[in-house]
Amino acid sequence: MKTILALVAALPFTLAHAALEGELWEVSTQMNIPGMPAGMGGQKTRVCSDKSDAKKQMQGKGSEKCKVTDYKQSGNKYTMTMECPDGTAVIENTFNAAHTEYNGTMSMKSKRGDMTMTMNGKKLGACDLQVAQQDRQDAQAAGKQMAADMAAMTAKMNADMEMNKAQGFAKLKASCDEGVTAMDSRKLALALCQGKDAATAAHCMAQNAKDPRQKEQFKQYAQPAQDRAYCEAKKKEFCTNLQTPNGFALATKVEGVRGKDEQTSGGTYTPAPLGQRVPASSAFCGVKNETIAAGMCTKALDGPSWKFLRNCPAEAKSAAPKLCPQAVQKEEYEYLGEFCPADAKPLWTKYCAGRDYTSMYEKKDKKKLAMCTDLGIAMGADEPKTKAGAIPTSTTQAVDAAKQGAAQTINKIKGLFGK
């Protein structure tokens, strides 16, 4: 572009008579590129040119690399052909009789395509060549500085991108570790470009994009092969853990599948059955939830996974004869409190009976506090009942009536005795 303008601006001076002062021209240009809207990029510039050394001017000012190969004059029409690194430029201009205006075209044929420019020039008056020269040099220097700044910024952006890429890959790999530790299949799925979250993830675009250009563009963001292999191995570990009571319990917590709300029954809640608690994790591992859940309670008994047995009250209860002694030995007081009242009682009697919650708390014995809290659940039914009990509904009024009647009778008797 600069080359073109320089060529255009320089043209009048091939024609003007040699003079020492500069001539100020206003040059209007419009580009026409095949396939693009006509007349785009319209510009108006003012150029102060040396009319005394026109030929030098024609070859300089951004067109240093162009060479004039042909030059013709026919009346007021001037034609010049130049060979430039980008291609061949042919400029044709026609001046008015006073050489104060011209109309013309510049055609450029290059590897990148052809282009035509229309131009109009109008001489405005005289100008100071030296000032114009300085302005051009300053503009060139500023342009060079800007180009250098841009290059530096681009280099920094590229370096940052590379660093971000490296950090991104490290994060993906770490998320595979986290996925196993927390039993969160989403973290692994994203790293392995599975699931809906992966649809727009940069590291998955190379794999998922339909446009070949996009695929190519995002190739650089794809996870390195060794990282991917690492995450695949972590997936296997996740799926193995999912089949254990502890892993299953963790995944249950992550997925948070809600059970059944019975609003009509006064607002009860029944947790989802085991076979419905980890649908996403199961799908991630290519297995049905029901399949993973089947036998989970049996596995929990084998451990035993004491905490998981909360989910298996029927199995935990039926295994009590076998598990209660183990629970005593392992100090699993929650299990003891719920399923082993006979085993819990001696412990309760020894450590908790007669000691109230407040004083046990004040002693700051967290272990005993937790133990008595867990065991206390079992202690109710065997201890002597208080006088408390249910209030009969059908007899409440009967009792009141009876009391009233009794009072009336007493008063009558008193009346008999004159009291």
């Binding site: 006064g266 009990g389 249910a390």
Partner: protein, 254 residues
């Protein structure tokens, strides 16, 4: 007196997981019942009654009105702060004593101040909430014929009361001081709720004990966005069991 068990027609389908824990109990997690046993059984509510008394007091308003303690109030039995007849004290202060210390003298002073319709208002409020298994005769919870409620109803009353900021604040207060309006007599007392300040997340609600009701408690705790309400009516080991149920409810489904 013959005691016959009576059950309402409808009952929860919640699991009775801990039948030994109390004569009647109910556990709610984030507003839904997860375990319950005999929760529709009509029982003496003891001082859990005071939740309704507090609710009605708050809804009547006039908390800065000055109450002259009645003789009847000063002669109240059971839990008391030691009010004397003729002392003048604001409704707000009496409310604090009633909720925090379960003080019967403070409760009676409020009831007498509002007049004979106070208990009627309590029953109307219960009906308005659809609590057909609840009836009050005594505003402070003394065992009286015709005074009954259920674990399920009491849970609802607790939830309603806890929606009142003033009640919620008192329910979680461990110790407080009040004074007569002339400032000459101060009363300092601590909560009857042993879980406050001890059980992680405990924020309420009310205790109750009478010969007929046994040891009762409504415990509320909140942790990490999970809210658990436990109602125990006639629990042998009230605090151990409340804490035990709270622990299990927080761990529920995990």
């Amino acid at each position: 007196m013959l005691l016959l068990a009576a059950f309402s027609a409808a009952s929860y389908s919640a699991e009775d997981r801990f039948p030994r824990v109390a004569d009647a109990y109910l556990v709610k997690r984030n507003g839904v019942v997860i375990w319950a046993g005999h929760e529709q059984l009509r029982m003496a509510p003891a001082s859990l009654t005071k939740m309704m008394s507090a609710l009605v007091t708050l809804e009547l308003g006039h908390l800065d009105e000055v109450v002259t303690v009645s003789r009847a109030a000063s002669r109240e039995s059971g839990s008391r702060i030691g009010l004397k007849a003729g002392q003048q004290i604001r409704v707000r202060s009496l409310l604090a004593a009633m909720v925090v210390r379960s003080a019967n003298d403070a409760c009676r002073a409020i009831a007498d101040y509002y007049g004979v319709t106070f208990v009627t208002r309590m029953n109307q409020r219960a009906l308005a909430m659809g609590l057909h298994d609840t009836q009050f005769v005594d505003p402070c919870g003394h065992d009286k014929p015709g005074q009954y409620s259920t674990a399920a109803d009491l849970a609802r009353i607790a939830e309603q009361a806890m929606q009142k900021p003033e009640f919620a604040q008192l329910a979680r207060t461990e110790r407080i001081s009040i004074a007569t309006t002339d400032g000459k007599k101060k009363f300092s007392f601590t909560t009857t709720n042993a879980l406050l300040g001890r059980y992680d997340g405990a924020i309420g609600v009310k205790t109750g004990t009478t010969g007929r009701a046994g040891n009762c408690v409504i415990a509320l705790a909140e942790r990490d966005g999970v809210r658990v309400l436990v109602v125990l009516l006639n629990a042998r080991n009230r605090w151990w069991n409340a804490a035990g149920l709270l622990d299990r409810a927080f761990a529920f489904n995990s």
